[in-house]
């Protein structure tokens, strides 16, 4: 028992990722943690999206299952698992069966290289960003397969739209990514990196998030990526692949029950994946705000309180709503449940105040916060933007974003070269 504790402690002090250390067991632990974390994030996202959209439209959203509908995602999951699983008679059985798994595999595999912190990644690859873009581009394959194998008109049109859209926006996305990678090479050796951890370390070394680098070039590249990533994940306002008013549900019209929920899972984890790319490339990944400007013992201490304070804040919201619950006896269980949820959140917050814990998980907190901001943006877009028409979508991708991306790439390269030649000869 003692040796196990020592083993875990020896790992907690390590400064390598499990992949770099070649530690298979810790890599498996990390994979499980990432998988569980992602599933929880998708469940939370499901609830938040319905709640936030509802409040944007002056509705209440789910209120029945659990206090403020907190248990609604679980009820939904049970419903989906119990639903009849239908495979249309005329469908291509094998491909119909494979498609959801390919989409889920592609969406989850990319998290192998996502750096939640300098040591909190499953592994670090020399081709990190390339790997992420490549594997996430495989998900379009699953969508096309799903649409074709359903052997029905709406799914086929949805799949064709989605593949055309994803292939077009990948080009603009790639150009934006290249201009960010170019910025990593602005160091003494003049060699850049494609590794996800290396990109964040380059931002740390240059003392600047790449979104502010060569203002406004970094900002424009980030904007291109931010637009392309919404199109890439088939979300509103670019959700033509599943435009409800035209195509019922697009490529997954014929899917039901568990298979449909796999598509759902894949969509949300793909959203988290592309947001993590954006956070890593432009928003400094796991770095806390102002790591160089506000450095020193006091600031370190202040910023290490943030994770705990956030959880305490959530707990306070829970307690506030517990007090506001209706006093009718029918609501007693819900009131107790909400209070218990608040207590759990407060306990997590208190644990995060322990210096050893907060130092270890602080980077995960900052990374997750930045990704959460993107998740909120996704919901916000869905609540506010009207859907594009397909020709407008293509025009946007090829005639606006692509030339912009090329221009930014050329300008970034020129400015970087000038800087190296003039200021640092």
């Amino acid at each position: 028992m003692n040796s196990i504790v020592q083993y875990i402690q020896s790992y907690l002090a390590s400064d390598k990722t499990p992949g770099a250390a070649g530690n298979m067991f810790w890599a498996l632990v990390y994979i499980m943690l990432v998988f569980v974390g992602l599933s929880v994030a998708v469940i939370a996202m499901n609830w938040l999206e319905r709640k936030i959209l509802a409040h944007m439209q002056v509705r209440l959203g789910p209120m029945r299952v659990g206090p403020h509908g907190l248990l609604q995602p679980i009820a939904d999951a049970i419903k989906l698992l119990l639903k009849e699983d239908i495979i249309p008679a005329e469908a291509d059985g094998l491909i119909f069966w494979m498609a959801p798994f390919i989409v889920v595999l592609a969406a989850f595999t990319v998290f192998v290289v996502v750096p939640f912190g300098p040591t909190h990644a499953i592994t670090d690859m020399n081709i990190g960003i390339l790997f992420m873009l490549g594997v996430s581009s495989l998900s379009v394959l699953g969508i096309v397969m799903a649409g074709w194998a359903s052997n029905s008109h709406y799914p086929l049109i949805g799949a064709l739209r989605s593949s055309a859209q994803m292939v077009s926006y990948e080009v603009a996305m790639g150009l934006a990514v290249v201009s960010a990678i170019l910025m990593t090479s602005l160091n003494a050796t003049g060699t850049g990196t494609l590794s996800m951890i290396g990109i964040v370390q380059a931002q740390q070394a240059q003392g600047e998030w790449f979104i502010f680098k060569f203002f406004p070039l970094g900002l424009i590249a980030f904007f291109i990526f931010a637009v392309a990533m919404v199109a890439e994940t088939n979300r509103a306002p670019f959700d033509l692949a599943e435009a409800e008013s035209e195509l019922t549900a697009g490529f997954h019209t014929e899917y039901s029950g568990f298979r449909w929920s796999l598509f759902f899972l894949a969509e949300y984890s793909a959203m988290i994946a592309v947001s993590s790319i954006a956070v890593t490339l432009w928003l400094g990944g796991w770095l806390r705000p102002f790591p160089n400007l506000l450095s020193g013992g006091i600031w370190e201490l202040v910023f290490s309180f943030f994770p705990g304070v956030t959880f305490l804040f959530f707990a306070a919201i829970c307690f506030y709503n517990t007090v506001r619950m209706p006093k009718h006896p029918l609501f007693r269980i819900q009131t107790i449940g909400l209070a218990a949820f608040g207590v759990v959140l407060a306990l997590i917050g208190l644990v995060l105040f322990i210096p050893a814990v907060s130092m270890r998980v602080q980077d995960i907190f900052w990374f997750a916060t930045k990704v959460a901001a993107f998740m909120y943006l996704y919901i916000w877009y869905r609540g506010t933007f009207p859907r594009y028409r397909f020709d407008q979508l293509m025009q946007m991708g090829w005639k606006v974003l692509l030339p912009m991306g090329l221009g930014v790439l050329i300008l970034t390269a020129s400015v970087a070269l000038l800087q190296q030649k003039l200021w640092h000869p």
Partner: protein, 169 residues
Amino acid sequence: MAPVATPFFFYLLSGIMLIGGILVITRKNPVHSALALIVTLLAQASIYLMLYAPFVAGVQIILYAGGIMVLFLFVIMLVSIDRSIKERQFNSQWVVGIIAATALGGLFIAAFTKGDKIFPEHVLPMVENDNTQNIATLLYGQYMFAFEIASLLLLVAIIGAVVMAKKRI
């Protein structure tokens, strides 16, 4: 770190590639053929990874499996498949095919048996970490001219496709 390139993985991936390749030419449904080809390409990417060439593997996945094959599928799916399934598969150029296959097979066998005398001896540098950087220095240094010519060729192909597809530009 111990090398991952064990013979087991090589035989596994080669097996997958061979099975995928055979499925490509034996399936009657073109969509099934295209999917089998994607499996082959992915297994090939894994073999590049085994050969300590992660960059080539990544590009293989992005370009072939993620880009070109999706466009392939895109076109195939718009073709009416019902008719092509009912049609008898035929091959009127089997004589040429057999000659080409024998020649290629002979070349492979020759390279396998006499390879150590034909090719210069070279030890593979097993530094995965610098692979991308090394490719970049080679591509934009030593082979700059060839690289630019190739990109020009691709540009010509793109413009040609647009000119052919559009009547009025």
